[in-house]
């Protein structure tokens, strides 16, 4: 088993907490993990990405090769498009639909959606609205994780258990909110 994942978004959107849950699940299964992160200046509202690789065999490179990513999980629709050259032709994009506009030349939202829909396997979700409607406003990113579950090739209950371990010390309410978010995301898969 090997899954190459690109997590992306805008600095401050919390892509690393998704990575933490996936990493926890993978570590518990004794899988090999490599996760290249972005720290420093780009975190100030710039584009950020993390290469997360999990595999049952040892992993050499910390970086994913062009055309090799199985999944792009993005907190922002245009950011998902930035990494298209890395996405395998059979790969999946799972992205939030809500643009984060902090630059003057942000493209038309219709153009971004049209570009996304050109990709063979894509799931576009209004995670913030889903989170609001279900009274779990702080767990929007975990909805995205739920929607990526099949593409990640990690069993659902293993992600659930990882959530229990990662969020456990923040109390039951936080764990429950995130489990609910994961379930909402799972429903949105196809």
């Amino acid at each position: 088993m090997k899954t190459d994942i690109i997590l992306c978004g805008v600095g401050g959107q919390g892509i690393l907490s998704i990575a933490t849950v996936i990493g926890e699940a993978a570590m518990h299964e004794n899988l090999y993990i490599k996760q290249a992160e972005v720290h420093g200046m780009s975190q100030r509202g710039g584009d950020v990405q993390s290469n997360l690789r999990i595999s049952s065999d040892p992993i050499s490179s910390d970086l994913i090769a062009l055309g090799a990513a199985d999944v792009i999980i993005s907190m922002e629709p245009m950011e998902a498009l930035r990494y298209l050259p890395y996405l395998s032709k059979e790969g999946w994009i799972i992205t939030s639909s809500k643009p984060f506009v902090n630059i003057p030349n942000y493209p038309d939202v219709e153009t971004v959606m049209a570009d996304l829909n050109k990709v063979k396997n894509v799931i576009i979700l209004d995670i913030e609205k889903l989170a609001q409607d279900n009274a779990i406003p702080r767990s929007a990113n975990v909805i995205l994780l739920g929607a990526a579950q099949k593409a990640l090739n990690i069993e659902y209950d293993k992600l659930e258990n990882a959530i229990r371990r990662v969020f456990g010390r923040k109390g039951d309410a936080v764990v429950e909110a995130n489990l609910k978010a994961l379930a909402i995301g799972k429903e949105a898969q196809r």
Binding site: V10, M27, H39, Q43, G67, I103, Y106, D115
Partner: protein, 536 residues
């Protein structure tokens, strides 16, 4: 015990497990997380390992050398350009040698993700004639720390460990020891003749240290971290150093058909290199950073060998390597993904909404409308982003502290107005001495110390001068009439612009301190306060 650790964290854990007594550092991407990990470590608290931030890399390097002098194990961490700041004590520590183990950890930043150049610290290791390590994996980074301290004490020299951004900021599962080694006892065995670098002593030490080089090279040849794996096809051999080795192996999941020499310990293991050049028709050299090995190999090679690498274009001359760069050099087809999308716009970083630096630049730009020839000398920090629209406010940014000294030089040349803008942490790092130069000549410059009460760009570490800036300026000889403090908020714009205008008009050295907490640390502090209130 298995832990999922960043390269930086693996280094920190490795140092703690090797019996570290003190870490000395100034924050700098991508090295910051090493010291932060030690600051948050239970073991470090229990043992009272020194772990406070230092003013700059030079004070850090010297303090670590002092701890080593007393027989204890010390770690100095910095980003690559920090090694320039402490080059004097670093190079001379190769002359004094060490007593307790001393590891100098330098994190290079090829492709300049957060830096102003992509210098390769391995050159410094060679320059100082000390052993240099370059791990390929997080596990090696962890294991090498124990080895580095043992080596340092065995050969009585500091050890340079060089990592790059991808190693520092990439996470992997690391097997760590259950029981940390005890710290060294205090000992007084440091011999004065080594440590007092009077010319007479230094000449003797120079003979000793140069005489040690053959032994250091033998250790590199025999190192478990340098390995030569033969392959069936001798048309080519490949030398891969540090993290480049990973990209190479990524290209050959079932094993490389060519002989491969992995180098993670220097000085250069010439014997292993000579074997490869003798047995292979061509040699490809893949290394993260500048062509350090490649240059040296070309220098020692007899005429007809074919050496390929960054200097011949098979690999890119600059920037970070990647699995794809190695594939291209090896003639392996690069996998086709989706075409890149032309609609994607660049998204550069920007100052946070509500950040005080924004108000400082707004005010400064407003005032400088009346001075079209004004020059603004910037410095290293979040406020360097003042170069970008909408502010476009600075005309230079070179190195830590250069704003004040460059403004002074410009003023000496006849420039007016010459404005320096520097952050609080950068000021105590390397700005204070420059301000003294300016005050001593009453140079016609206006210095803005934009104080956000933290070292912001690296994530909000303590800033050495917090609460002391007015006293520091007065202590350096600045008069109170030209030392002004303002609060950078939109509502205070009339006051701030008035102060700036007056101080620019004053023909001498003045300092304006706009002071308001960083938005990032403010939010963190509010959160902590809320959590505390919830507990009570």
């Amino acid at each position: 015990m298995r832990k999922l650790l960043l390269g930086d964290e693996a280094i920190a854990q490795g140092a703690l497990d090797a019996g570290l007594s003190g870490v000395y550092a100034y924050p700098g991407t991508p090295s910051t997380e090493i010291t932060e990990y030690i600051q948050n470590s239970k073991l470090a608290v229990e043992r009272n390992v020194h772990r406070r931030w230092c003013c700059n890399e030079k004070t850090a390097m010297e303090a670590a050398l002092g701890m080593s002098f007393m027989g204890k194990r010390a770690l100095v961490c910095m980003k690559h350009v920090g090694l320039n700041v402490c080059a004097d004590p670093f190079v001379n520590s190769g002359m004094t040698g060490v007593n307790g183990g001393l590891v100098v950890l330098v994190a290079d930043d090829p492709s300049m993700h957060s830096s102003q150049d992509e210098q390769d610290s391995r050159f410094y290791g060679k320059f100082a004639m000390i052993p240099t390590l370059e791990p390929s994996t997080q596990q090696e980074a962890y294991d090498m720390m124990e080895m580095a301290y043992a080596l340092s004490e065995e050969v009585c020299l500091p050890v340079l460990m060089r990592v790059t951004t991808r190693m520092a900021h990439s996470r992997a599962v690391v097997e760590v020891k259950e029981t940390p080694r005890a710290e060294n006892e205090l000992n007084y065995n440091a011999q004065a003749s080594h440590w007092v670098l009077l010319p007479g002593n230094a000449r003797r030490r120079n003979v000793t240290v140069t005489g040690q080089q053959a032994d250091l090279e033998r250790r590199a040849v025999e190192s478990e971290y340098n390995k030569y794996v033969d392959g069936p096809d001798h048309k080519m051999g490949i030398i891969a150093t540090g993290i480049a080795y990973n990209y190479l192996m990524e290209c050959y999941p079932d094993g490389c058909p060519y002989p491969v020499l992995k180098i993670s310990q220097y000085p250069m293991p010439k014997e292993l290199i000579n074997r490869m050049t003798a047995e292979c028709d061509e040699v490809l050299i893949a290394e993260e950073g500048q062509p350090f090995v490649e240059d040296l190999v070309r220098g020692v090679m007899p005429g007809n060998a074919v050496i390929k690498g960054r200097l011949t274009g098979e690999l890119p001359r600059t920037g970070e390597l990647s699995p794809d760069a190695i594939k291209r050099a090896l003639g392996i087809e690069v996998c086709e993904g989706y075409a890149s999308c032309d609609d994607v716009a660049p998204r550069p970083p920007a100052l946070c909404q509500g950040c005080g630096h924004r108000d400082v630049y707004t005010a400064l730009n407003e005032v400088l409308k009346d001075y079209p020839n004004a020059r603004v000398f910037g410095d290293i920090g979040c406020y360097t982003l003042g170069f970008m629209p909408p502010f476009k406010a600075i005309h230079s940014c070179v190195d830590m502290g250069a704003s004040i000294t460059m403004a002074k030089g410009a003023s000496d040349a006849g420039q007016w107005p010459a404005v320096a803008i520097i952050g609080d942490s950068t000021f105590t790092h390397s700005g204070m001495t420059g301000l003294l130069d300016a005050i001593n000549e009453n140079a016609n410059i206006t210095v803005i110390i934009s104080d956000n009460l933290t070292t912001g760009m690296t994530g909000g570490q303590d800033s050495a001068g917090t609460g002391k800036f007015e006293d520091i300026c007065r202590g350096l000889g600045l008069s109170d009439e030209h030392l002004k403090v303002v609060v950078p908020l939109p509502k205070n714009m009339p006051e701030i612009t008035k102060v700036m205008r007056e101080e620019i008009e004053y023909r001498g050295t003045s300092v304006i301190i706009p002071r308001r907490e960083c938005m990032q640390t403010l939010q963190r502090h509010l959160k902590q306060k809320k959590a505390q209130e919830a507990k009570q």
